[in-house]
């Protein structure tokens, strides 16, 4: 196929797409009113904090911080709206709880596998007798347990909680999501088992055999159904920004997954291009939107103040949807793929700065004057750090795509550090924060030991800082050693060793943090621990509301 035909078809395609896009969005996109941002609040509720993860005293301080910043007038929120929200929460409770339990199990599995893989990189003769424990398999088990276990279970669980609240409609058909989650987890168990046994489709991010993936597709479709039902039967007119991200993520993932896993369709270099189209889009068009949606909901909700600029969030959303989809080719810079594709991906990687800046400015402006809230709210602490890491990892990713930087960092541990900044520093932190908010709402219990939340936060933050800095430095030095033809290849290995050990130590702290989190979760669920005087329920938050 010649270049002219390719350019022509690309042109025609883009033009048609643009027309369809303009048609589909011709209202709403430049809607200048900020009213949309207020739909997450009941009338008169702006100015009221909502932070079920905090203690009673912390909530008082948090409300104090919100009052001090003083646009809160509404101290008597509409009780009908709050009733509707309570009904929405009640409708999602069991199913969200099930998703979160699965998420925590996979978090622990992934942590154990990840730490094992990390240690193996500097102790290559440790645990080598069993095939399933070899680096190439345990590393892959780690990746898949995060990619198809922890992240989607936590993210979809949060979506199941947030969407009914945003649509002011109880979740319809929760049992579909329940069955879907059972199938999904069964598929993941089978998938990790086959990777351990050495049965793999051989593509990064797509190792699980396609036969098992049909079960994922079925499970995913069932999980999506209640969200679609609820969307169609909603009681609100306006769709809040979190709904855009969550709904689109649910529609993007199946397309990505089915195209990528179609047996017998892809081969050779073309398959490599497809591989990174999928690999990057599953991050950019699935985990990222789920996590961004959580930030857009929980951050304003906790501090009781609507998002500052609703138009910026529109720019952020459509910018992400357009640019992020095309960045995957930067994984193949210098490789045997068509040059135009790599260039396109580099350009779009740099363009990603636009939606990222839109998001960052928006969140910062919303928080401005309320930074004290970070001290009092565990949810906000995790989500705030997560949002910051989104900015950091995205900007880093944009520059990593430049040929000059990529020449050093490609093929090195630097990339691994970057991937963890995105999926751990950003996505996982946001989901931790979301779970701290949601659990008290769906179990009607408070977190029994607030100091465990603090311990979790500092263990994973400190551990991850060590992880990231070690691996980034080690990876950079490794890349420089590899670029210098005068140095033998083994230099590039030797130079990384201290940093790989540093990564293992950081990783160990992260694992301890996860154990603390899981233990705290267990204590809460089994109702062990002190009986707190103020369960984090609405009827206690809003004293004026009549108790039924």
């Amino acid at each position: 196929m010649n270049t002219v035909a390719i350019l022509l078809s690309a042109f025609v395609l883009s033009f048609v797409a643009l027309l369809v896009f303009i048609w589909s969005q011709r209202t709403g996109l430049f809607d200048r009113s900020g009213r949309g941002a207020e739909v997450i609040f009941a009338p008169q509720e702006i100015g009221r904090i909502e932070e079920p993860a905090a203690t009673h005293a912390e909530r008082g301080a948090l409300q104090g911080a919100a009052d001090a910043a003083a646009d809160g007038q509404g101290l008597a929120p509409d009780t009908d709206e709050l009733d509707a929200r309570e009904r929405a929460d009640a409708s999602t409770g069991p199913v969200v709880f099930f998703f979160y339990c699965c998420a925590i199990v996979w978090l622990l599995v992934a942590s154990a596998a990840g730490l094992t893989a990390s240690i193996k990189l500097h102790e290559p003769d440790w645990m080598v007798q069993q095939a399933w424990l070899t680096f190439g398999r345990i590393r892959t088990i780690h990746l898949n347990a995060v990619a198809y276990g922890w992240a989607p279970m936590a993210g979809l669980g949060t979506a199941l909680f947030v969407i009914p609240r945003l649509l002011k409609t109880p979740l319809l058909g929760a049992r579909f999501a329940f069955v879907g989650a059972v199938l999904w987890n069964a598929a993941l168990i089978a998938g990790l088992g086959s990777i351990g046994a050495g049965i793999s489709d051989g593509l990064e991010w797509l190792e699980i055999p396609w036969q098992i993936d049909t079960l994922f597709a079925l499970g995913g479709a069932l999980i999506g159904m209640p969200l679609v039902f609820t969307l169609v039967n909603r009681r609100v007119d306006h769709l809040y920004v979190s709904v855009w991200y969550m709904a689109c993520a649910l529609f993007w993932l199946p397309v990505l997954f089915i195209v990528a896993k179609m047996p017998g369709l892809h081969q050779g270099v073309q398959q490599a291009a497809m591989n990174w189209w999928f690999g990057h889009n599953v991050l950019g068009l699935f985990y990222t939107p789920l996590a961004l949606a959580s930030v857009y909901y929980f951050l304003p909700k906790v501090i009781g103040r609507p998002i500052q600029s609703y138009n910026l969030s529109l720019l952020g959303f459509w910018g992400l949807a357009f640019f992020y989809g095309q960045v995957g080719g930067h994984h193949l810079i210098g490789g045997p793929v068509p040059e135009w594709m790599v260039t396109l991906s580099i350009v779009q990687s740099m363009m990603m700065i636009i939606p990222v800046a839109a998001f960052t400015v928006n969140q910062y402006q919303t928080l401005q004057g309320r930074l004290a809230a970070l001290r009092w709210s565990p949810t906000l602490r995790f989500i705030g750090v997560g949002g910051l890491m989104y900015t950091a990892s995205s900007v880093q990713g944009s520059f990593e795509a430049l040929r000059s930087v990529n020449a050093v960092t490609h093929f090195t541990h630097y990339t691994v550090a970057h991937a963890h900044l995105g999926l751990y520093g950003f996505v996982s932190f946001v989901f931790f924060g979301a779970m701290y908010f949601v659990m008290p709402r769906i179990t009607a219990r408070e977190w029994p030991y607030p100091w465990l939340i603090t311990a979790h936060f500092w263990l994973v933050s400190g551990g991850f800082a060590l992880y990231f800095l070690s691996l980034t430095t080690g990876g950079w030095l490794q890349g420089q050693a590899m670029l210098d033809a005068a140095r033998p290849f083994m230099d590039s290995v030797a130079v990384t060793l201290p940093y790989l050990k540093g990564r293992s130590i950081g990783g160990a702290f992260m694992v301890i943090g996860h154990l603390v989190f899981a233990a705290h979760f267990m204590l809460m669920v089994t109702n062990v621990g002190p009986q707190r005087d103020q369960p984090a329920l609405f009827r206690h938050l809003f004293a004026r509301k009549a108790t039924p």
Partner: protein, 202 residues
């Protein structure tokens, strides 16, 4: 935004653009590139070895895509010329890789063509490359008092073999080495000019 239909259709248009740029166009351009004359299809032994390579995740540390001289000193390291799409005509799945914790392997069959070296290195990399962080793969081998007639004994420095025993390669190891030795993209990409052309030596 008020209409979910518009939202979803807009979102799917965005994904369609991305899919056409990174999946459909590369499919049209490079999916059916014919193999170069120097490239042979893998034999069934080599394909079995390729499955062993995939099963044990070799791709997570070893790339198969030397880059151009202008970009990186891959050629100077002996990893071979920059590859082209036609070099991968028989690769299902592709194994281009994204990490070089170990060296590129696109031409390992040319660079290290000794079966004995490859087997010994798989059994214990540090017996051959001091400072290597590659895992050892004892489960691809067997320790025995004496090898059977058709079995291949792995040659190793004495300190790596338990006294009174020999290390024998299992079939998986033999297949994997057959695959590694088949990795050879050293043939030319551009055919040499015909001898009768202008300027050809007479």
């Amino acid at each position: 935004m008020k209409s979910e239909i518009r939202l979803i259709s807009g979102a799917m248009v965005m994904l369609a653009l991305s899919t056409s740029a990174l999946v459909v166009l590369p499919y049209l351009q490079v999916h059916d590139v014919p193999a170069l004359p120097g490239l042979k299809p893998y034999s069934s032994t080599e394909l079995r070895g390729r499955e062993v390579y995939i099963a044990n995740g070799c791709v997570y540390c070893h790339s198969q895509q030397p880059r151009a001289k202008a970009f990186a000193p891959d050629f100077a390291r002996g990893w071979g010329r920059a590859t082209v799409a036609a070099d991968y005509a028989y690769d299902r799945p592709h194994l281009l890789g994204t990490m070089r914790t170990g060296p590129d392997l696109m031409n390992i069959g040319v660079r290290q063509p000794s079966q004995a070296w490859q087997l010994g290195h798989l059994y214990q990399p540090r017996a051959f490359v001091p400072g290597s962080i590659m895992p050892s793969y004892p489960y691809l081998f067997e320790l025995k008092a004496r090898a059977e007639k058709n079995e291949v004994v792995v040659n190793l420095p004495a300190e790596f073999v338990p006294a009174g025993q020999v290390v024998v390669a299992r079939p998986e190891a033999m297949d994997l080495v057959a695959y590694l030795l088949s990795l050879d993209r050293s043939y030319p990409v551009i055919a040499a000019p015909a001898a009768s052309g202008p300027g050809a030596p007479r």
